[in-house]
């Protein structure tokens, strides 16, 4: 319990620091947005009026405080480009990116765990060497290239889907999933390779160095029992941490993939906002993603603590 509370506190402090830095980066450093909004030939009175209405003439900490308060209410600022509340802009897009991310993660876990375990069982066999080579290649292919290849093979040649014709989940969930599976595969492939490699090396290092492996064999355990009953549990801790990092990584990956497949998600919005320097939107998205990263790492810590009781002492 103490361990969890400590980690929770750490997470909260991290969020405060991150949100502060993000605010600093996007509200203070770029300076005044009024010229972008009004144009260079606006009268000083209009500029002053706009600054006052946007609350830009308040002291820095007050602005930060009210932004944070607003965040909890769901008021995330107002877009420079569209003059819309950022919250409503994000509203429809977060579920889409969430779905894509979730699908990728499911794929990663569903494929890499069995493959990693299988390859650990059959160490140094032909299968294992082939898998290793495939892994190497998969990690070298940029996800957006995979996306383009998938678009070509499955979209244009086999015509299993029509590239660019994304269907919103609200309209037709099934069709949406059928479309999202391809970008999800593009995101997942290199990370499946990395997770398999991670799992394999973790299990191998346990098998090689752990004393309890020899003890288990001495009690008459079969190789399978040793692997799945003992080694797996011990090898899992670094894998869980790695999967948490992957979770965060996938979100970044979706920024690029959404472009490849023309998916109107959060990533695409982020990109547009970066290009047009629409700082309130960028800021809100970055903080949301940071929150996601902190949350996922916290969950990974909690899970690890359940697997490895020694961690509870720290």
């Amino acid at each position: 319990m103490k361990y969890t509370a400590k980690k929770l506190l750490l997470a909260a402090v991290t969020m405060v620091i991150v949100s502060f830095l993000a605010f600093l980066a996007f509200q203070i450093i770029p300076g005044d947005p009024t010229t972008t909004l009004l144009g260079t030939d606006a009268t000083p009175e209009r500029v002053e009026a706009l600054r006052h209405s946007l609350g830009l003439d308040r002291p820095f900490l007050v602005r930060y405080g009210s932004w944070v308060a607003g965040f909890f209410r769901g008021a995330l600022g107002t877009s420079y480009s569209y003059s819309m509340p950022v919250g409503s802009m994000l509203g429809g897009k977060i579920p889409i990116t969430g779905l894509l991310t979730g699908l990728s993660f499911v794929l990663i876990v569903a494929v890499s765990l069995p493959v990693g375990l299988l390859s650990s069982q059959k160490e140094n066999s032909r299968l294992d060497q082939v898998l290793d080579a495939v892994n190497q290649v998969l990690m070298a292919v940029p996800p957006f290239f995979t996306g383009i290849l998938l678009t070509y093979v499955f979209g244009l040649v086999l015509k299993w889907f029509t590239p660019g014709s994304f269907v919103a989940p609200g309209e037709n969930f099934g069709a949406c999933l059928r479309y999202l599976i391809f970008p999800a595969v593009a995101i997942a492939l290199p990370r499946i390779a990395m997770t398999v490699k991670m799992l394999r090396s973790s299990m191998q290092s346990e098998l090689r160095r752990a004393g309890y492996v020899r003890t288990a064999y001495s009690r008459g355990d079969s190789r399978r029992r040793v692997l799945y009953g003992h080694v797996l549990r011990n090898a899992l801790v670094p894998v869980v941490t790695f999967l948490a990092m992957t979770m965060a990584d996938i979100v970044a990956g979706s920024v690029v993939i959404e472009q490849v497949f023309a998916i109107p998600g959060m990533g695409q919005l982020l990109l547009r906002s970066v290009s047009t320097r629409d700082f309130p939107v960028v800021q809100a998205i970055i903080v949301i993603i940071a929150f996601w990263v902190v949350l996922v790492n916290f969950l990974a810590d909690v899970i690890n603590q359940r697997i490895d009781p020694r961690l509870r002492l720290q």
Partner: protein, 260 residues
């Protein structure tokens, strides 16, 4: 019961044999000590008896029988029927030999799980009984704990309990007291002697510490560089050593008598 004849063991990545033709017997109910310094081949012998050497890294020759069953054969199935059931092993470092993420209870029951189809309650009962036999004062309490919560001495008793729970014919103890405090050492030795007396379990005790061997074993074999240079009853070997090496080992034992 355990018969070793002309055993040769060579590791593939070495050009000389680790065990160069040894003969050793352990009869029912005996405690036999195998003494030697590091590199003498005593641990390799123990691991060969236990069947824990990886077959593709090792070349074995000779005869090794446990009640008639040939243990030099490499197929996993044959070895598995013996490991844990007829031979129980206690290793040197208990903290290292246990799975840090598993509770004590299931680890003591490990050989029961591997060899029998008992139900959980039955296994737990036998595990608790074995832990009591190993002189653990609170078996129920310890059952649910993790290895890092126990001291070295307690852990070694747990290891002993895990080794004897299936009532093996032979207990292989590979330097079980070397990593423990001296006071605990004495307790563990007494425990082993008691188990030997009560259950008639033979013990093959490997050590480099002559004093310890003298307290526990009825027969002793001395190994040097892969060969057995002397065997006999404990009294015989200690008070009337014949081999040079044995004499040197005995002379090297630190005593409280003044050096004149």
């Amino acid at each position: 019961m355990l018969e070793i004849q002309d055993l040769h063991v060579r590791f593939h990545d070495s050009d000389h044999e680790a065990v160069r033709g040894i003969d050793l017997t352990v009869n029912d109910g005996e405690i036999v000590g195998l003494v030697g310094e590091s590199g003498s081949g005593k641990t390799v012998t123990a691991m060969t008896v236990a069947g824990l050497l990886e077959c593709d890294r090792v070349e074995k020759r000779g005869a090794l029988h446990l009640d008639g069953c040939d243990l030099l054969r490499c197929d996993r199935e044959t070895l598995r029927t013996v490991q844990g059931k007829d031979i129980g092993i206690v290793f040197q470092e208990p903290m290292n030999a246990m799975n840090p993420l598993m509770r004590i209870g299931p680890q003591v029951e490990e050989s029961l799980l591997a060899h029998t189809k008992m139900r959980k309650e039955e296994r737990r009962r036998l595990a608790l009984a074995a832990m009591a036999d190993a002189e653990l004062s609170n078996p129920e309490g310890i059952y649910g704990k993790y290895p890092h919560e126990l001291s070295g001495g307690m852990l070694q008793r747990v290891m002993i309990a895990a080794a004897i729970v299936s009532e093996p014919k032979l207990l292989l103890a590979d330097e079980p007291t070397t990593a423990l405090d001296v006071t605990i050492q004495a307790q563990i030795l007494r425990l082993l002697k008691k188990l030997n007396g009560e259950k008639g379990m033979s013990i093959l005790f490997i050590s480099h510490n002559l004093n310890v061997v003298r307290k526990l074993c009825s027969r002793v074999a001395v190994m040097e560089k892969g060969k057995i240079v002397e065997t006999g009853s404990t009294d015989q070997v200690f008070y009337h050593p014949r081999a040079e090496y044995t004499k040197r080992l005995i002379a090297a034992i630190p005593t409280r008598r003044k050096i004149t």
